[in-house]
């Protein structure tokens, strides 16, 4: 009798110990979870602060870049007065404009690329002028031909460019070239009005201009002949 009571008591005691252990574990687990959540929240907060700081930094950078771009190449030659009064007016005006529209000029800029892009863009312009010259002669021949061999059509082709500035540069290059006019860019497709087949085939199957524009703006997904040539020279020098 006493033995069974003793055994029961021991059992009870063990049960109570087990239960308390479980409860303690639960409490511990919960506290750990809460700590982790608190930590996560803190980290998020810190990240948000960093992100905010980064955004502020990029805003300040684009403000300064816009200010410099407006003040030195535009205001100074336009104004022509270099006394303190006019320069301070200019600084005020440039600061106002840069404050209003600092987010317009520099969108999606990849840091470090700007110099290369500007250099390649100025190298692209003479080629474009030569191309315009060639197209002028072509259109001149069509105009002077008494048979007038035109076959106007709107052609549609897919493009491999994707940033908006390169799309616009290519579209305006097409429009500047006589005989072709960009009508629209819709969902990555160009709608171009061409005056005859030769011009249209040049756009559809040639694509040199598109390659060059992609090279200027360093469209990342494609490898172009010019890039390979650039690298080849460096490679040779290295060897």
């Amino acid at each position: 009798m006493e033995v069974t009571v003793l055994i029961q008591a021991t059992d009870e005691a063990f049960k109570i110990i087990e239960e308390s252990r479980n409860r303690a574990l639960d409490v511990l687990n919960t506290s750990v979870r809460f700590t982790a959540e608190a930590k996560l929240l803190e980290e998020k907060k810190i990240q948000a602060i960093f992100k905010g700081a980064e955004r502020t930094k990029s805003e300040v950078l684009s403000f300064l870049a816009t200010f410099a771009l407006l003040f030195f190449p535009l205001w100074m030659p336009l104004s022509g007065f270099f006394d303190v009064f006019h320069l301070s007016i200019g600084a005020g005006c440039c600061a106002l404009v840069a404050y209003i529209s600092h987010d317009l000029l520099f969108v999606n800029v990849r840091v470090g690329d700007m110099r290369t892009i500007v250099k390649r863009f100025f190298a692209y312009i003479p080629w474009l002028i030569y191309q315009i010259y060639l197209a002028n002669i072509h259109v001149l021949k069509i105009v002077l031909n008494p048979k007038m061999p035109i076959n106007p059509a709107i052609i549609r082709f897919k493009t491999k460019l994707d940033s908006d500035i390169s799309l616009v540069t290519f579209a305006n290059s097409i429009t500047l070239t006589p005989g072709t006019i960009t009508v629209e860019i819709k969902e990555g497709e160009y709608y171009v009005h061409a005056i005859d087949e030769a011009v249209a085939y040049d756009l559809l199957y040639g694509g040199e201009m598109e390659d060059r524009v992609a090279h200027v703006f360093m469209e990342a997904e494609h490898v172009y002949v010019q890039d390979v040539l650039d690298v080849a020279r460096i490679y040779g020098a290295l060897r």
Binding site: T66, L70, L74, W75, L78, S79, F81, H86, I89, G90, C93, C94, L96, V97, A98, I100, S101, L104, L105, V107, D164, I165, L167, V168, A171, N172, T182, E184, I185
Partner: protein, 150 residues
């Protein structure tokens, strides 16, 4: 109503062109007493940059940049600058907009004072014209309705 239309060429070119347009407008305002141009012309160019944004980006995006409230503030500011300069000359003992009297306040010669007075007045005119033009376009494109009834 002005309906927004997604045209990547127009949008990108507006984005690139607008700051230069605005700075040119301010240049025309600031150099009105030396070269052709002045408050009215500069104000219209400044307004044209905002109208260009309304046409290419839509009304909401432009209003985020220059809200109607700020527009009205600019309008009043322009009027205050203009009439304030005139009234200041009147208070100093001359005629309305008689810039010669500004020499009593500023340590400059009479010719310089006239140039400065014209600069003040032109700034006022420029702000006023810009605000009126922009608010006209806002009103036309919203049908003159307040924001909650559009």
């Amino acid at each position: 109503m002005i309906i927004t239309y997604e045209d990547i060429i127009i949008r990108t070119l507006t984005r690139v062109l607008a700051p230069f347009l605005q700075l040119y407008a301010l240049y025309v305002i600031a150099h009105g007493h030396y070269s052709p141009g002045g408050g009215f012309q500069g104000g219209v160019i400044l307004a044209a940059s905002f109208i260009l944004m309304v046409i290419s980006f839509g009304l909401d995006m432009t209003r985020r940049r220059l809200s109607e409230k700020v527009d009205i503030i600019f309008l009043c500011l322009g009027l205050i600058i203009y009439s304030g300069t005139g009234a200041l000359c009147l208070a100093l003992g001359g005629n309305f907009l008689d810039y010669r009297e500004l020499t009593k306040l500023l340590p400059v010669t009479i010719a310089k004072a006239r140039a400065l007075g014209i600069l003040f007045v032109e700034t006022g005119v420029g702000f006023g014209v810009m605000a009126v033009m922009t608010s006209l376009v806002y009103d036309i494109s919203t049908g003159g309705l307040p924001p909650e009834r559009r």
